[in-house]
Subunit: 121 residues, 2 copies
């Protein structure tokens, strides 16, 4: 069984952070200062006693010089598979749907036009 009070994902996150920190030869206090986080809190994160927010993870990633995504995946915020999902031929519908800049209305307009082109039948 798991030895910590939180779920296993949290534990794996803490273990991962501690691994990265010791590998970088940083003390708890050093990393906590680099990341702008209090040192007791970092200690609790590493032992799986607390679940850090995405903002904290971002700062930790910076201090550890790893990608924020990798920490998100460990924390269960991001699906491991989803990160590098498509890789192949881009799909217009999906590209429009997932564009972070467009508004919903703009997306609908673009999709309508696109559909009118391909739905010739």
């Amino acid at each position: 069984m798991s030895r910590n009070p939180l779920n296993d994902l949290g534990e794996s996150l803490g273990d991962y952070v501690r691994e990265q920190r010791t590998a970088a030869k940083l003390s708890l206090r050093q990393l906590s200062e680099l990341a702008g986080v209090s040192n007791p809190y970092l200690s609790q994160i590493e032992r799986g006693l607390k679940r850090p927010s995405a903002e904290i993870l971002q700062q930790l990633a910076k201090g550890l010089e790893v990608s924020a995504e990798s920490l998100y995946v460990r924390a269960g915020f991001l699906d491991a598979g989803a990160v590098s999902s498509d890789s192949g031929v881009p799909d217009v519908r999906r590209a429009i749907a997932e564009d972070p800049v467009l508004t919903a209305r703009q997306k609908k307009t673009l999709l309508d036009i696109y559909e009118s082109y391909v739905e010739v039948a």
Copy 2:
């Protein structure tokens, strides 16, 4: 200046969620139930009064049928540039250019419209 008590990123997130929700023709309560979030809280998120955690964003993304990444970008948890360049999210311009069905003219039309949307001013 900004009309809300939180930062502009939070506002843009709320606006984005509301756009997606109305575009999907969902009421506040409907989406709140789909996402497993209380309806007053969703209301406050949309108006930029609260900053939701990554977990809540994940659930909202599910209810809205958009990628969690897109919400993370809006929330400032993920860097917009990093995502699009990192092969995670498809690029609209590329997807249009490589679509095998569209004619050259149709591609130009779609691209022109898309550019008009993203060229913010």
